[in-house]
Amino acid sequence: MYKFFPLLFLIISNLFAYEDNKYTLGEGLQVGSLPLYIGGYISLDYKHQQDYDSYRIDDLSFLVYGSQGKLSYLSEIEYKEFYVKTKEDGITTTQTNTEFLVERLFATYTLNENTSLRGGKYDSYVGYWNLIPINVLRETTSNPMSTYILYPKYTTGIETLYKNYNYEGVFGLEVSIQNNNDLDNEYNNYIINKHYALSLEYEQDLWSIKFNGGYFHIIDTTTSQKKRYYMMFSTKIEESNYQILAEVGTQQDNHHNFTTQYAGYIQGLYRFHEKHITVIRYESFFNEIIDKKDNFLVMGYTFRPLYPIAIKGEYQIHKESKDNAAFISFSVLF
């Protein structure tokens, strides 16, 4: 029931939001003169594989956020896989999901120029891809496999972030603690009740490097090896017209058996025009739980008529041709 309050607020606030505010796509709208802003995003995608097609209205999301002094706050509620139609081996199935889920809900208190504290449900501070995971802002329709299997995408707990600017670059340290069930656990790739994580990063000019390590405990009864440890290295180089991004990690259980021997990718992106971007990504993983190993190439193209609109095409070439896949997606951030 509580999930409807942000939506109700959104509808009512829209009645006042237009008064003196000029709206720009991708920037949200202020609610009157309150320290509160509303926005959202939508994404639709199509996937084709051998004898398989799916059409989805995947994300239908609403954002409410703001700040007052040292305190800032954000709420994101979403319909996930709002509509899904699949055709597999000649059989068509349709599913709708009209349950609102809480994707993020947190408050952040900024202590000073170096330190902030966060509490609630937030994107796990792991790597770079997971920090901006939504379709309209990421570079391909698909996500790298490593982001699904190495670590929990979301953490419901408390987090402290420290940044030191005394070096030529910026040094960052993040510690996150979850010792409770997830908020809306359907929305996480792992259903957990514990997640302890550490992040170390260094950023200088155009490049940055990050190390993540953590432990999480799965409560999903269908999963064996419930205690998992992970480690991941990430690096990024970003210039005005290109980006190179790489992440690689490993995961073990509490008996030091690999659950994922390795999972990683290296991705190159080139913006040959502000509206036209090409992406190439090589991924490799070996997941011991499902005994699956794969190396594959992802080739993508994104057209952004305006930055908050992304029209994407993507083709994946896998080790086994039956896994090859094509994607098309359309997404908008309001």
Binding site: E27, L63, S72, E113, I132, L137, S240, P308, L333
Partner: protein
């Protein structure tokens, strides 16, 4: 006489424009890196004071110069940056209509910081950074 006026006109075009970043007298002088972090909202609190960076309208020459020399980002990069920040719950700096509006805002609101032409500096505000646009 006409020749002198013409030469003075050419000289005025070639002279560097002097721009300044201003704030209240309690704000210390800042480095370019600090300014960049403030205007990209990577730092929100400084010396226990909430910072309120201010921008001029997008089509002003000062703003272009500020983005080029201080933020070192193109308009396209900034659009992408602030769109991502919107998802993360962070707003771009407040926009003021004119340099006079920036001055009035800074004079009234603690923690406010903005950029103007040097010749417009009022006595009760402080220069925290200065740059030239040739």
């Amino acid at each position: 006489m006409k020749k002198i006026l013409f030469i003075l006109f050419i000289i005025s075009l070639l002279e560097a424009k002097e721009y300044i970043v201003i704030s209240s007298k309690t704000m210390p002088t800042l480095t370019k890196n600090q300014l960049k972090r403030i205007f990209l909202k990577k730092i929100r609190i400084f010396n226990n004071q909430e910072l309120i960076p201010l921008n001029l309208p997008t089509n002003t020459s000062i703003r272009y110069s500020f983005e080029k020399n201080i933020l070192q980002m193109s308009r396209t990069q900034l659009k992408a940056y602030w769109t991502k920040k919107h998802y993360l719950g962070v707003r771009a700096p407040k926009k003021q209509k004119s340099q006079e509006a920036i001055i009035k805002f800074i004079q009234k609101v603690p923690g406010a910081i903005g950029y103007i032409e040097k010749q417009s500096l009022p006595d009760n505000l402080k220069i925290v950074y200065q740059w030239d646009e040739k």
